[in-house]
């Protein structure tokens, strides 16, 4: 090695530097996972659009009379069959002469009810199945996961078709059970994977070390920290359930034809698609926009809760 001389450089020291090590610097505003997620959501225009659509659909579902004075069934006149839009009937008439706009407004309640019920059923079955399997492991995991696998192996839509075609009664509750009863396995799997990861974190060990029971640890620490993918999945599942109901109704094995539903409307408009395509178009649009709103909402929530998963902009 050469005997090069390395000089000893010392930076001028800043009298304000140093002193306290690792000083606590708090920002003015509080910050935690949910607050940060909310701040993130509030900055996104898409969030407002999605929320507005969901709000309008929910309002229509709860108070359809706010949107239209026309009744969807009773005011039908065959004289208006496949009629073009007229004063007070902005979207025209169905083949039966019913007001398309009114039917869409009244159909919102069905779609939303099915969506919410399916999500509820999925959560009630899927969350305990996934969480218990992952957290306790061993034979409990083996049993619960195999049961889940069986349901997972059956395409939930196919199962719903079979169930619906043998059911004597086909109302909102039955169709929701048929869809949700077979769709929960995906949720259980997603949650199981998340819990498996969270349960090995040190705060879970710390909770047990301080004397909390296993079950209490699961409820207090593990579940709240595993819910992010569940919330995202359920939001998207809500949209998917609305589609599933529409599809079943379209196939004629969904809700009875007397029930107002976008799926039923699409099915009925199909026979006169050549003469009155708009009667098919409007309920389809309502369905698409609503489902899209829920899916976008789910994606946005995921981005807000997990900034790492966010697509690079």
């Amino acid at each position: 090695m050469s005997d090069r001389i390395t000089e000893h450089y010392v930076a001028p020291s800043d009298p304000n530097e140093g002193g306290e090590v690792d000083k606590v610097r708090l920002s003015d505003r509080k910050s935690n996972l949910w607050l940060d997620a909310w701040r993130d959501l509030r900055r996104r225009p898409l969030f407002y659009i999605a929320i507005a659509i969901v709000a309008v659909v929910s309002l229509a579902a709860l108070f359809p009379s706010l949107f239209t004075d026309t009744l969807p069934n009773n005011d039908c006149q065959l004289a208006n069959s496949n009629g073009a839009p007229t004063e007070g009937h902005p979207l025209g008439f169905t083949r039966q002469g019913c007001d398309v706009y009114a039917r869409i407004v009244y159909g919102a309640s069905t779609s939303l009810s099915v969506g919410l019920l399916v999500v509820l059923i999925t959560a009630v079955i899927g969350i305990p199945m996934g969480a218990l399997a992952a957290f306790y492991g061993g034979w409990i995991d083996s049993v619960l996961s195999r049961v889940g696998d069986i349901f997972f192996a059956i395409p939930y839509f196919l199962a719903a078709v079979v169930v619906m075609s043998v059911m004597p009664q086909r109302n909102v509750l039955v169709i929701s059970l048929a869809i949700g009863g077979f769709a929960w396995a995906s949720l259980a799997r997603i949650l199981r994977a998340e819990v498996l990861q969270v349960k090995n974190l040190e705060y879970v060990m710390a909770s047990e070390a301080m004397g909390r029971s296993k079950f209490s640890t699961l409820v207090r620490h593990v579940l709240p920290n595993s819910l992010t993918p569940v919330i995202v999945y359920l939001t998207i599942a809500l949209g998917a359930a609305i589609t599933a109901e529409a599809t079943l109704s379209f196939l004629g094995i969904g809700l009875g034809s007397s029930t107002m539903s976008w799926g039923n409307d699409i099915a009925q408009a199909q026979s006169s698609i050549r003469v009155a395509p708009m009667a098919l178009f409007w309920p389809s649009l309502a369905l698409t926009v609503t489902v899209l709103a829920f899916i976008i909402l789910g994606e946005l929530i995921r981005d807000a809760l997990d900034p790492k998963a966010r697509a690079r902009r």
């Binding site: 090695m1 390395t6 090590v21 910050s31 996972l33 949910w34 710390a206 301080m210 004397g211």
Partner: protein, 584 residues
């Protein structure tokens, strides 16, 4: 082993470079990262030279900009980072304006790079041989299938992998951490670069493995006269391995020069504090400053002062009653082998030790020695396969569920990872009060008062009770974890690698806090660690574990000055910087 070294003549074409001209000249380098909350100036004007064959170390805490500086040399900054000023000259030409294709020739060929984490820097789906061959092909050192294969074997053999030919067919998961690091070093040196950047090359490895790898790296680079740029947080390691030291803080160089001179005669206040806080240096400092008055005030963090205080208490150790007594403790796991067979693994294989009240026992060992399993057994997180643990006269094996629950009140734990040990969805106040709630101690108001008292004890502001862990640094989180452990006024605290993840200054501060609390509250510590340097300053007695057994135990002084076992001696020798004569 006989190694054939092919001496390559690189003089073709180019005139021989002036040996006194620097290989790399960094001048007023500035690096800016674009973030959601505005620009962050990570490096704010850094200048240094690296001469051919020279070993330079950049030392600093996390966030000092040391790694950013290193990655800028090969222009592999993260997507949101850019060089916003200054120049980097490699062999006289500025590379800051080089495009990707020109940089590709520099990377590997002129500047090799060994990344930090051997566990995640090899692609698990490709065989090791494939990844080495790929690097060789990319660097263009060999062409043709046969030549590349031969070069790959040569590279791995040089990196110290025996039977490289067979090893090449294996996958990264079949390699230990040390072997993976050897592969990465092999790849980094594959094209005979003039400069090798090693970014914390061994911080994920055990000390003994670290020593072997660094020794090997040193001999390889000396042989080929390769310059080295070490990035490390470990002052001792930097001083031991590098001739020139650059100390960085907050994106600036605070001090630079010959490493020994800086260590023995630090000028900048930051460097002084860093050196005082480094336990690896303090471990030998006890002798050099014995009898000398400790100059620093009580608020300064000085490992030597901390260690000396411990010496005084050592006499009292034997007199104190036994708090924890572990007798012939065993834990056996069964490991699946083949389809239906299983093999027993003795994670903890009959260990016994006593800890006296108010003292600290350090359980030391490398990864896989069973020390963490032992801690989990003592905490009652797992049932032992045999033996017994007695805490304050209460046998855990004979305890009922109720007695075991009450025992947990007297024993608390602080874990290693400050980012994983606090529930992110709970406020700090709720986290600290949780043990009180679980054990139904006090009412809302009294619990709140206790939280404030605890926050004060660990020197955190009271308003933190309503904040969440994400606002805190690692060291502050660790204080919260300590406060939580103290909430129930326990007699025993198990510290499972509790300071291993912290920067030296913060680590020194937490060690100081733990020592103060021990004195104030008469706590008994079981200190689990792989870091012998830290043991020197905190422990009264030491038990060294190897493969589930305690190979040597005794008072800290006995072990450090008069280790009987070869294994213990090896661990001690591997402490970086321990051999450096240290001035003040």
């Amino acid at each position: 082993m006989t190694e054939e070294i092919t001496v390559e003549t690189t003089t073709t074409g180019k005139p021989a470079a002036d040996p006194n001209a620097p290989l790399v000249e960094v001048d007023d380098l500035q690096i800016t990262f674009k973030t959601g909350t505005g620009d962050v100036h990570a490096v704010r004007g850094v200048s240094f030279d690296i001469h051919p064959g020279e070993t330079v170390a950049i030392v600093g805490e996390s966030g000092s900009g040391k790694s950013t500086t290193a990655t800028a040399l090969i222009k592999l900054l993260a997507g949101n980072g850019r060089i916003s000023g200054g120049s980097i000259k490699v062999e006289g030409t500025d590379i800051t304006r080089y495009d990707e294709s020109k940089m590709a020739a520099v990377r590997g060929g002129v500047i090799g790079y060994v990344p930090q984490d051997p566990m995640s820097n090899l692609n698990p789906v490709w065989s090791v041989g494939f990844q080495v061959r790929e690097a060789i092909r990319a660097n263009g050192v060999a062409t043709g299938k046969k030549n590349i294969e031969a070069k790959a074997i040569e590279v791995l053999q040089q990196a110290g992998l025996g039977d490289a030919e067979r090893r090449m067919k294996q996958f990264p998961h079949q390699f230990s951490g040390g072997m993976r690091q050897r592969v990465l070093i092999g790849i980094g040196l594959g094209a005979d670069p003039k400069l090798l950047i090693a970014d914390e090359p061994t911080s994920a490895l055990d000390v003994t493995v670290q020593k072997v790898i660094l020794d090997h790296l040193e001999s390889l680079t000396r042989e080929k006269n390769t310059a080295m740029l070490f990035i490390t947080h470990d002052l001792g390691l930097a001083a031991e391995r590098a001739s020139k030291l650059i100390v960085m803080s907050k994106g600036l160089i605070v001090e630079a020069g010959p490493s020994l001179e800086i260590l023995q005669n630090p000028q900048h206040p930051y460097t002084k504090r860093l050196i005082a806080a480094a336990p690896s240096l303090a471990s030998r400092r006890i002798h050099s400053t014995a009898g000398l008055p400790v100059a620093e005030g009580a608020d300064e963090l000085d490992m030597a002062a901390l260690a000396e205080r411990h010496e005084d208490t050592e006499a009292a150790v034997e007199a104190a009653p036994v708090m924890i007594s572990v007798k012939d403790l065993r834990k056996t796991y069964s490991i699946r082998r083949g389809s239906f067979k299983s093999e027993p693994l003795h994670a903890v294989d009959g260990i016994s030790f006593d800890i006296h009240k108010g003292t600290t026992l350090a359980l030391v060992g490398e990864s896989g020695s069973g020390k963490s399993t032992a801690a989990r057994l003592v905490l009652g997180l797992e049932p032992p396969s045999g033996g017994d643990i007695t805490v304050g006269g209460q046998s855990m094996a004979k305890a009922s569920a109720k007695q075991l629950f009450d025992l947990r009140r007297r024993m608390q734990v602080v874990f290693q990872d400050p980012y994983a040990s606090l529930d992110p969805q709970r406020s700090i106040g709720a986290i600290i009060a949780e043990p009180l709630k679980v054990h139904k101690v006090g009412d809302r108001a009294s619990r709140h008062a206790r939280v404030e008292e605890l926050l004060e004890q660990v020197a955190l502001p009271a308003e933190l009770a309503h904040r969440y862990p994400n606002e805190l640094s690692g060291g502050q989180r660790q204080r919260v974890a300590i406060a939580r452990a103290l909430a129930l006024k326990p007699e025993v605290v198990v510290l499972d690698e509790a300071v291993s993840a912290l920067d030296v200054l913060v680590q020194a501060q937490i060690l100081q806090l733990l020592a103060d609390l021990q004195e104030e509250l008469g706590l008994t510590y079981l200190f689990i660690t792989h870091d012998l340097a830290v043991v020197r300053v905190v422990a009264d007695s030491v038990a060294v574990m190897e493969r589930g057994k305690i190979v040597e135990a005794g008072s800290t002084d006995d072990i450090f000055e008069n280790a009987q076992q070869e294994y213990t001696q090896r661990l001690l020798d591997a402490i970086p910087g321990a051999g450096i004569e240290f001035g003040n």
